[in-house]
């Protein structure tokens, strides 16, 4: 899709020059074709919007619950994919950022009783800041080492929130978080939460697409493809890598914040290394370096285990099998263009 969009850009721009001054008949052809394409996109968007609005009306409460989880995971995976797919950094501690966002809600929203909008903002900013502090030393460590360092970070995070009883409630966590509200609008029911998570997922998707399609996005991919050549073009590597790390962490913090409000509780069990592994898998399975791939990864790895629920005892094994088969036949993921193996040696 992106290929085709980009392909259309320069070609149509080049056609416009001579054709604009020449015969009007030659303009009508391509512009009608472009209108057809435009109409197709608009109708797809309209259909998509209705498709996304409808679930709370037609689906069971349980299905809405699963869809909400999918939406919560989307910013998280987008962030991981930006860091690992677009920027080529093997970061394996994303659950720490996810958890940091959740605990920001727990502490600021739960303990101190801040209203929702500033809490959400604080979750993004504080987690982004954590990403900056972690990234500053860690980014200098490349490839496989970063992988191990970020696992270490995740373990340290879990230990801190488990031990720091006075602040985080230790193993029992922080229960009874307030119901999120935006001015007069309160987010109470399952369908309310679905719409909240959906809006946040769509906004995150828009932000990530804007980043990826910009000149900065190209710089990030250039640094991933060949850091020496990127530096020889005058690109300073560390700021680019850290900026991506900060954005990725901020998105994870946002996801964590929504999750905390959704389940009304924050505890250390949801943010361990297994969670990081799951997020990592979502990015790889959906497709490294593809924003749409992140969505697909979240849908598959949250959705498929639920669809396979009837296979109860073999459920997780089946999910693993799906992963193995996909990696054998599509090592770059479903929509990706970068193979994870290309990142390991660098």
């Amino acid at each position: 899709m992106t290929q085709r969009l980009r392909g259309a850009g320069p070609a149509s721009a080049r056609n416009r020059g001579p054709a604009g001054k020449g015969l009007s008949a030659s303009i009508i052809g391509p512009s009608r074709a472009r209108f057809g394409w435009f109409a197709a996109v608009i109708s797809a968007c309209v259909a998509g919007t209705f498709g996304l609005l409808v679930p709370p009306i037609l689906c069971s409460q349980y299905e809405v619950h699963v869809l909400t989880l999918v939406c919560i995971y989307i910013p998280l995976v987008l962030g991981q994919n930006l860091i690992t797919g677009n920027s080529g950094q093997l970061s394996m501690g994303h659950a720490a950022f996810y958890g940091f966002g959740a605990y920001t809600v727990g502490i600021l929203g739960g303990v101190y009783g801040w209203p929702t909008p500033p809490v959400l903002l604080a979750a993004i900013v504080a987690t982004g800041l954590l990403g900056f502090l972690v990234g500053l030393p860690a980014i200098r460590i490349s490839g496989d080492y970063l992988f191990i360092v970020t696992i270490g970070l995740n373990l340290v995070f879990i230990d801190v929130v488990t031990q720091w009883n006075s602040m985080t409630g230790g193993t029992s966590g922080i229960p009874g978080l307030p119901i999120p509200s935006f001015g007069p609008i309160e987010v109470r029911t399952y369908s309310d939460f679905y719409y909240l998570a959906l809006v946040i997922a769509l906004l995150s998707l828009a932000v990530v697409i804007a980043i990826v399609r910009s000149r900065f996005g190209r710089m990030v991919e250039a640094v991933r493809d060949d850091s020496l050549a990127a530096a020889a073009c005058g690109i300073s590597l560390t700021p680019v890598r850290i900026a991506v790390f900060v954005v990725g962490a901020g998105l994870a913090g946002l996801s964590g914040a929504v999750l905390a409000y959704f389940i009304g509780f924050v505890g250390p069990t949801d943010f361990g290394v297994e969670q990081s592994l799951l997020i990592f898998e979502m990015a790889i399975l959906g497709g490294l370096g593809s924003a749409a791939g992140s969505v697909v990864g979240a849908v598959l790895l949250v959705g498929v285990p639920e669809i396979l629920r009837f296979l109860q005892p073999y459920r997780l094994g089946m999910v693993g099998l799906v992963m193995v088969v996909l990696m054998v036949y599509r090592p770059q993921g479903i929509l990706g263009k970068v193979k994870v193996t290309n990142l390991i040696r660098k």
């Binding site: 290929q3 980009r6 392909g7 320069p10 070609a11 804007a210 980043i211 399609r213 910009s214 000149r215 900065f216 996005g217 190209r218 710089m219 991919e221 250039a222 991933r224 493809d225 060949d226 020496l228 050549a229 990127a230 530096a231 020889a232 073009c233 005058g234 690109i235 300073s236 590597l237 680019v240 370096g289 263009k337 970068v338």
Partner: protein, 256 residues
């Protein structure tokens, strides 16, 4: 005219082995200077020292009478040193036009941060850069213009070399360092490249330091040639006189 590069007393020692041993070299502003020598004589090492990839044991490097040897790789690029690599280094997952346009990084007035918001000024700048990139690529005739949206992996080896040269020139450098640009090209393509390089550098207005094995290619372009052997400068002068130097003949062919 800019692009005057002066290297004085460049030494690189790996362990006990001297890859470069007190080499001095001068590239005149706007000129073509050649650098030849057998394999392992230190040509690429010298290029790496000049661009900041390799840390020298000792070196004094000036670009247009400004010391640059304390600068890092990307800072030297911003100061106006562009290069290509002997082993091609392109952004493989990006398409041709993006590869070339990224070369203009140092010229961007709109920040990378601004580009994320797709402001009209940032988009205008990008569009203008793409036009310049297409102008540069047009020098190679129809070889790359129909392939602007193709990924690098789909290109032939010679075309990848052309993309790399265009990317380096896209930054409007003061000096362009070319590391065996004609490697993997047939004689006709090599001859064509000599002509195209002359056109491209005239468009940009930079000087060139050219590392190459093909003597005809050097002779066609360069007014001055340096000969390296075992990390030392063996001879320098116009190509015709260097070719007749008996020491050079010995270093290259092992005959007296």
């Amino acid at each position: 005219m800019t692009g005057n590069l002066q290297c004085r007393d460049v030494s690189v020692v790996f362990g006990g082995l001297a890859a470069l041993n007190g080499v001095s070299l001068n590239v005149g502003a706007g000129s073509f200077t050649g650098l030849i020598g057998p394999n392992g004589s230190g040509k690429t090492t010298l290029l790496n020292v000049v661009t900041g990839v390799q840390r020298p044991t000792h070196a004094e490097i000036e670009l247009d009478h400004r010391r640059i040897d304390h600068l890092t790789l990307h800072e030297r690029a911003r100061a106006g040193i562009a290069r290509t690599f002997q082993t091609l280094r392109l952004f493989d997952t990006l398409d041709v036009i993006d590869n070339v346009t990224l070369g203009a990084h140092r010229l961007c007035e709109r920040s990378a941060f601004e580009s994320v918001f797709h402001t009209s000024a940032a988009r205008r700048e990008l569009r203008r850069q793409r036009e310049v990139a297409e102008e540069l690529l047009a020098v190679f005739g129809e070889r790359l213009l129909p392939r602007l949206d193709q990924q690098i992996v789909t290109l032939s080896y010679a075309n990848r070399r052309r993309v790399e040269i265009a990317r380096a020139l896209m930054m409007r450098p003061a000096i362009l360092l070319l590391d065996e640009p004609a490697a993997g090209m047939n004689p006709a393509e090599t001859e064509e490249l000599a002509e195209q390089l002359r056109m491209l550098t005239a468009m940009v207005g930079c000087s060139v330091l050219l590392v190459e094995h093909k003597m005809d290619f050097i002779a066609a372009l360069c007014s001055e040639v340096y000969v390296l052997d075992h990390g030392s400068c063996l001879a320098h002068g116009p190509p015709s006189s260097v070719q007749q130097d008996p020491m050079v003949a010995e270093a290259f062919f092992g005959i007296e």
